[in-house]
Structure formats: structure tokens, C-alpha cells
């Protein structure tokens, strides 16, 4: 199943990052499994411990299965000053999960991230590839409800 991704890249270690992204993006649970690492290890002739080190170094990669939608709430100073802490509390209550956890129905995973570069609209979060700014506690429920409806 990984061969299609591998065929796009020459087997050199500088392609590791791209291959990891593609594998994670193509996984319905948005993560990189142990089996995937073993396959990459064979393709790139790179030890599995090295690949694991790279995956865990970057916060964008996950080694555990995640939900359909990945929420990344900015925890940098600008957003913090503008109340990201309240948004986080609200989000935890609404979703009934802690940071790094996935909702029971598998629809959302809640994560924190560093600055997203849209400080003018703080507090900010990204859900999948979309940015949501000027967040308030009320807005959060609307956004989550809409995403829940998407099949």
C-alpha cells in the first residue's frame, strides 16, 4: 500500500520528510504506523529508530491514530493574551477530551501548536488545512457543529 507513495521518491534519506507527510496524509487516521515505519525503513535503508526519532521530533507527525479532523489551537503568547486559554477550556468541555486526545466517535483530535502566523486574528486555530481566527467561545460550538455534519 505504500509503494505508490515510494514510487514518487528516489530512495535517499533526504526524502524521508516528504514520504512521512504523504503517508500520514493518506492514512484515514492521520498517523504513521509501526508498519509504515518498517516499510520506509526498508525502502530508504534507514534504521527504524532513526525514523522514529524524526517523527517524534516534529509535532506535525503522530505515531498514534487520530480523528477525522485535527484541531491545532495556537498556544503562543499573542493568542494566549487574547484568551486562547478560555478557548481551550471550552474546547475540552465541548469535545470531552484532553490535549492530544481523540473524541470517542473519532471525529476530532485536539492538539496545541506554536504560532500560525496570523496573530492579527488571535486567538487562532487550524482545523485540518483551514484557519479559524478571532475565536470566541460561542464561535467554537458553531465551527465544531458544522464539521460534525460533514460526512
Amino acid at each position: 500500500m505504500y509503494q505508490e507513495i515510494f514510487s514518487k521518491y528516489t530512495p535517499t534519506k533526504d526524502n524521508l520528510i516528504y514520504i512521512l507527510h504523504d503517508i500520514q496524509d493518506s492514512d484515514p487516521q492521520h498517523y504513521i504506523s509501526e508498519e509504515a515505519v518498517q516499510a520506509i525503513s526498508e525502502y530508504l535503508n534507514l534504521p527504524a529508530n532513526h525514523i522514529y526519532g524524526v517523527i517524534t521530533f516534529y509535532s506535525m507527525y503522530s505515531t498514534t491514530p487520530r480523528g477525522k479532523n485535527i484541531i491545532r489551537l495556537c498556544e503562543s503568547p499573542h493568542c494566549y493574551i487574547k484568551g486562547s486559554e478560555n478557548i481551550l477550556r471550552k474546547m475540552k468541555n465541548s469535545l470531552n477530551v484532553g490535549v492530544g486526545e481523540t473524541t470517542k466517535d473519532g471525529v476530532f483530535t485536539l492538539e496545541l501548536c506554536a504560532c500560525l502566523g496570523v496573530c492579527g486574528n488571535a486567538p487562532v486555530m487550524m482545523i485540518n488545512d483551514d484557519v479559524y481566527g478571532d475565536l470566541t467561545e460561542d464561535k467554537v460550538d458553531d465551527i465544531l457543529a458544522k464539521l460534525r455534519e460533514v460526512k
Binding site: E34, Q38, P47, A48, N49, I51, Y52, T56, F57
Partner: protein, 594 residues
């Protein structure tokens, strides 16, 4: 010769090669720069920052471990500013370290403890923040205690760059960064070969052997058990340093006396079965040579190497000698030959092996090594564990009256004792194989071409009636990989191995540099331990395994002849193929002789 540069080290003018780093220059000229992650055997990683020095023209201090010297450089190694830097750094490291010195296995040997003491660090300056991580106790050989880890990275460097085992890595980042195995599966579920080099290079007690001391005391105190002890060649040359005696002194007779005082019922010697290994392995080599085999014979004594081979080179498993290691030969003979001769029920025999090695703990538990009908080797203690027992037993080792070993399974030759140094098994084997092939005695028995610390050593020995015998020796698994790749390529391209006979030892320097050896050693110290063994070889009356009278006797009375059906049953084994990800057995690679 590299170009030299003029440098002023603390005001003293010196001329040094431009390829050297500041810390190497300082060490050479007797200036000790405080350090923590730097080790002379390993490439610098600049993780800890303790070795900072002031360098002319630089407003900020430089790390001495990774800053090369340059023309006109003025280096200050000790100043108020540097002392403050170092103190703060060590305080920060200590704040994230579980400080339990009195009960720690590294107490008095810990580089962090010494450094904190030397720098006058204030323990209350910073609050302690521990990760409270769970210890990795999955391995039968090695325990990883993350709370004592200071993330210096030496274990990661030695595991990946020196040994090329690829078990340990840094995971996560920033303050969460820690040493781990892939997917946090634990060392037992990684390609770890149990070589224990990580435990030797760890500056603290974060990596150590899984101790079997309690079980051994228990056996000793059980009146129903007959407890037999055997000691590897490298042990006798590694005990002296603990007691302030000259490095590399052979203390074999003090060792026997101490073991008897600790309460072992029978004190014997692994060196005896080292000689026996030469007879079994040497015969195997000679038979293969006579049959014109295109594939090499590779030694099988080193359990770290065996697991490495099963993991990374299972396609060459048939090239590895089927002879068990001297430790395992000893175990099986103790519970068969010795039990019969002494009329002792083998069920009551407990065999304890004192080894310079953590991988021997794994070897002892291999399910296939039970040809006596019991687990052939019951317990394995590292040199460090044995030393702890000596201290616990209140033994004044330095002044203890020398004693001989018991008469059984203890006589050894110079060939047996040099097993403990890289190239020793090869040299011992050549001394006897020469006679097995030609029927004549080899006169020039000091085969210096295979001695010393060159990573891969090669030699050609002319053997009358056979021709040139091509041999190669590798120590350290990174060097083993180089040699094995060459052999694999030779077999694939030309259908023939470039060497007839190959010795591989997992640890740099051979067993004297083993993962169970006393803390605080480097390659230079390993070399001196090795020299101690070569000195003992020169001093011994018998220096060839086939002249060992007790080896002759065991063949006459019990085994018949080398590679006889009984010898093949008891003294030879087979190998497996293992997953490079989990280290677990996936299939059997070779079969036992019948």
C-alpha cells in the same frame, strides 16, 4: 603530517596539529577541562555545554569538544565567568536527574556526581523536575532508568555510530527529548544485541545490567545446591583497577580465593572451555578447509555478535561456527561430565558465570542452550556485579592470599587466556589449526598481525600442505559490519569468501572492553587490559590449546574426539533469523548437527 598551528593554552605557547579540537589539546597537555558528554572514544555531540572555554576574539564561550584549534588562538580554560557557566549548567542537569547517589549502581563511578562535587554545585538552587518515566526493564541484560538519564547522548552515539546496532535514539524534542527505542517498545523489542556498550559509556547510572546478585547469594546459601563458578578470560585482568592496583595486572589467583570466600562450592575457569572451543572450532575450520569450502568460518563466542548476525546477516548464518561459546560449553559440561564424575545430581548443580559481558545474560537464557537437560548456565554476573559481591562480602581483595582453582575444568593455556582480547581467538585457533593441518607444531606462535586495536585486521598465514590461510579480525560491531559486507559481496560476486577464517567480537577491544566491565574505561585502558592477557600468555607453561592436559583428558574420558557425535550434541548449536525491527526470532536459520 597535518599542518600545525600556534596556540596559547592558559598562557602557555604550544604547537599542535590544526585537526585537533581544543579539548583534545588540553587533555594532551595535562589541562583538565570539566566535561560531561564528551568521551575520547566517541565523536563529540556538544550536548551538555560543560566544556566551555574562552577563546580570543569570541565574545561568547566556545565548547572545547567541538571547536578546532586555529593559528594564534588564545584559550582560557578557567575563569570566574566559565566557572559560573559550568555551575549553572550542571545545576540545570541535576534539576532533571533523580539524585539517589548512595543506592545508585554508579555511586563513586558517576561522572555527574564527581563533576557536581568538583564544581561546588548548590543542590537547592533549582527545583527538581523529573519526567517520572517508567524504567525500561524489558531486556534480560540491561535496565534503562530514564530518570537518571541526562541526555548526554553517549549511548545513542555508541549504539548507532560505533556499534551500528540502531536500537537507541533520541525521541521527542526540547525538554521532552529523551533516549528511547523505536515506538517506545523497550530494548527487548528492538534490534538491541545486549552488547552493553551503552552501560559502559553512560556517565551516570541510567544504563546498567539487570542484576542477578540476589539469586546467586540465594543459591550459595542453599545447602542443597552445588554452586559452580566459572570466570571469563577478561575478568582476571579487569579486577585490579577497582582496588588501586596497576591497570592490566592479572589477579587470577586472588580472584579464585575471593570466589571461594564468597561461598562458591566449586571454583573453576572458563579459560578451560576456551581451550576446548579451539579444539571444536579449530576442527570445524580444518574440515571445511580440507573440503575446499568457498565460505568462511566465523567465530561464535561473542553473544552480542551472534544476535547481531541473526538480525543483520542471517544469510551468512551457515558461515558461523556451530561451536557454542566457552561459557555455554562450560555450563553443559558442568551438568553432564562433571556431574557424572563427581556423582552429583545435575538438578542440584547451579552454574554461575562471571562475564565481562551483558549479552551473556541473554545467551544463558536462549532456549536452545539446554543440552544438559537443564538451563546450562543458570546465572551470569558482570565484572561489575562480581566486584559488588566482593565488596558486599567484606573481602580485602588486594591482600587476599592467592589460591588455585579446583582441579576440575580449570587448567588453561595461554591460548585460552588471550580469548579476552581482540584477535585472541584467531591467534589461539591458528596455533592449534596449524598442527591439525600439518601435523607439525607452529614455532612462531606470537601472531602479532592479529593483535592490537585496528578496527579490521587482516593477515595471511602460510600453512604447508594447504597454502595461504587468509584470516580477518573485527572488533566492535561497526567494524564487523564492514567485514561482513565485504564477505557478502565476495560471495555474491566471485562465489568465494576473501577469508578462510574470521574472528568477530561485538565489543571494541574484544572482551576486555566488554559491556559488563568496570566503569570509567576508554580504548587506551582496554588496550592495557589486553596487554595484561598477552603477558599472562607469555608467562604460562602451556600456550597451545591442544596441549592442555585436561582438554586431552576430557576427550579420552568423555567426549571421544573433537566434533564426535557427543561433542556435536553437547558443544554445538544452531542459529535463528531475527526481525531488524523487533529483534524477535522469525525463523530458524541453521540446524543442529546430528
Amino acid at each position: 603530517m597535518a599542518k600545525t598551528v600556534n596556540v596559547w593554552l592558559d598562557g602557555n605557547h604550544i604547537e599542535v596539529p590544526e585537526t585537533m579540537n581544543i579539548i583534545e589539546v588540553a587533555d594532551k597537555y595535562g589541562v583538565h577541562i570539566p566535561r560531561l558528554c564528551y568521551h575520547p572514544d566517541l565523536p563529540p555531540t556538544a550536548n551538555c555545554g560543560v566544556c566551555v572555554v574562552e577563546v580570543s576574539g569570541n565574545p561568547l564561550p566556545k565548547r572545547a569538544c567541538c571547536t578546532p584549534v586555529a593559528e594564534g588562538m588564545k584559550i582560557t580554560t578557567n575563569s570566574k565567568k566559565l566557572r559560573a557557566y559550568r555551575k549553572t549548567l550542571v545545576e540545570m542537569i541535576l534539576s532533571n536527574h533523580e539524585v539517589v547517589c548512595p543506592t545508585c549502581s554508579a555511586n563513586n563511578k558517576c561522572e555527574l556526581q564527581t563533576l557536581a562535587n568538583n564544581l561546588g554545585v548548590d543542590p537547592d538552587h533549582l527545583p527538581t523536575i523529573l519526567h517520572k518515566a517508567v524504567k525500561d526493564e524489558t531486556s534480560v541484560s540491561i535496565i534503562r532508568d530514564i530518570n537518571k538519564c541526562i541526555a548526554c547522548g553517549r549511548c545513542v552515539t555508541v549504539c548507532n555510530e560505533v556499534q551500528t546496532v540502531y536500537a537507541l535514539t533520541f525521541a521527542d524534542r526540547g525538554f521532552d527529548s529523551h533516549v528511547d527505542t523505536a515506538f517506545a517498545g523497550g530494548m527487548a523489542n528492538s534490534p538491541c544485541v545486549n552488547c552493553g556498550q551503552c552501560t559502559v559509556y553512560c556517565p551516570t547510572g541510567a544504563l546498567r545490567e539487570k542484576s542477578e546478585i540476589d539469586a546467586v547469594w540465594e543459591a550459595i546459601l542453599d545447602p542443597d545446591k552445588h554452586v559452580i563458578v566459572q570466570e571469563a578470560p577478561a575478568i582476571r585482568v579487569s579486577l585490579a583497577e577497582e582496588f588501586g592496583m596497576e591497570l592490566g595486572t592479572v589477579t587470577v589467583k586472588k580472584m579464585y580465593a575471593a570466589l571461594r570466600k564468597l561461598g562458591f562450592d566449586a571454583v573453576m575457569d572458563t579459560n578451560f572451555t576456551a581451550d576446548l572451543t579451539i579444539m571444536e572450532e579449530g576442527t570445524e575450520v580444518v574440515e571445511k578447509l580440507k573440503a575446499g569450502s568457498k565460505r568462511p568460518v566465523i567465530t561464535s563466542c561473542s553473544p552480542g555478535w551472534i544476535k547481531f548476525m541473526e538480525t543483520y546477516y542471517p544469510d551468512l548464518a551457515d558461515c558461523v561456527s556451530t561451536a557454542k561459546s566457552p561459557m555455554s560449553m562450560f555450563g553443559v559440561l558442568a551438568k553432564t561430565y562433571y556431574a557424572e564424575e563427581q556423582k552429583i545430581d545435575p538438578a542440584k548443580i547451579v552454574t554461575v558465570a562471571i562475564m565481562p559481558c551483558t549479552a551473556k545474560k541473554f545467551e544463558a537464557r536462549r532456549p536452545e542452550l539446554r543440552d544438559s537437560g537443564y538451563q546450562d548456565t543458570d546465572y551470569v554476573l558482570t565484572t561489575r556485579e562480581f566486584l559488588r559481591m566482593v565488596h558486599e562480602g567484606g573481602i580485602d581483595f588486594k591482600h587476599i592470599k592467592e589460591e588455585d582453582a579446583d582441579e576440575n575444568m580449570s587448567f588453561y593455556t595461554g591460548a585460552g587466556t588471550i580469548f579476552g582480547a581482540t584477535g585472541g581467538v584467531m591467534e589461539a585457533a591458528i596455533r592449534s589449526a596449524y598442527t591439525l593441518v600439518t601435523g607439525e607444531e607452529l614455532e612462531a606462535i606470537d601472531i602479532t598481525a592479529v593483535r592490537g586495536l585496528v578496527g579490521v585486521k587482516k593477515a595471511t598465514i602460510p600453512v604447508p600442505g594447504f597454502g595461504d590461510l587468509n584470516v580477518a579480525v573485527a572488533h566492535g560491531l561497526g567494524n564487523a559490519r564492514i567485514l561482513m559486507d565485504e564477505i557478502r559481496e565476495g560471495l555474491a560476486k566471485n562465489g568465494v569468501s576473501p577469508y578462510h577464517f574470521v574472528e568477530i567480537m561485538a565489543c571494541p577491544g574484544g572482551c576486555v572492553g566488554g559491556g559488563g566491565q568496570p566503569y570509567g574505561n576508554d580504548m587506551a585502558m582496554r588496550a592495557r587490559r589486553g596487554e595484561g592477557l598477552y603477558q599472562e600468555d607469555r608467562d604460562l607453561p602451556v600456550r597451545k590449546s591442544h596441549h592442555n592436559p585436561e582438554v586431552k583428558r576430557i576427550y579420552e574420558r568423555f567426549l571421544g574426539a573433537p566434533n564426535s557425535p557427543l561433542a556435536l550434541k553437547l558443544l554445538h548449536t544452531y542459529y535463528f533469523k531475527r526481525s531488524v525491527n523487533s529483534g524477535q526470532v522469525t525463523e530458524q536459520a541453521t540446524h543442529k548437527h546430528h
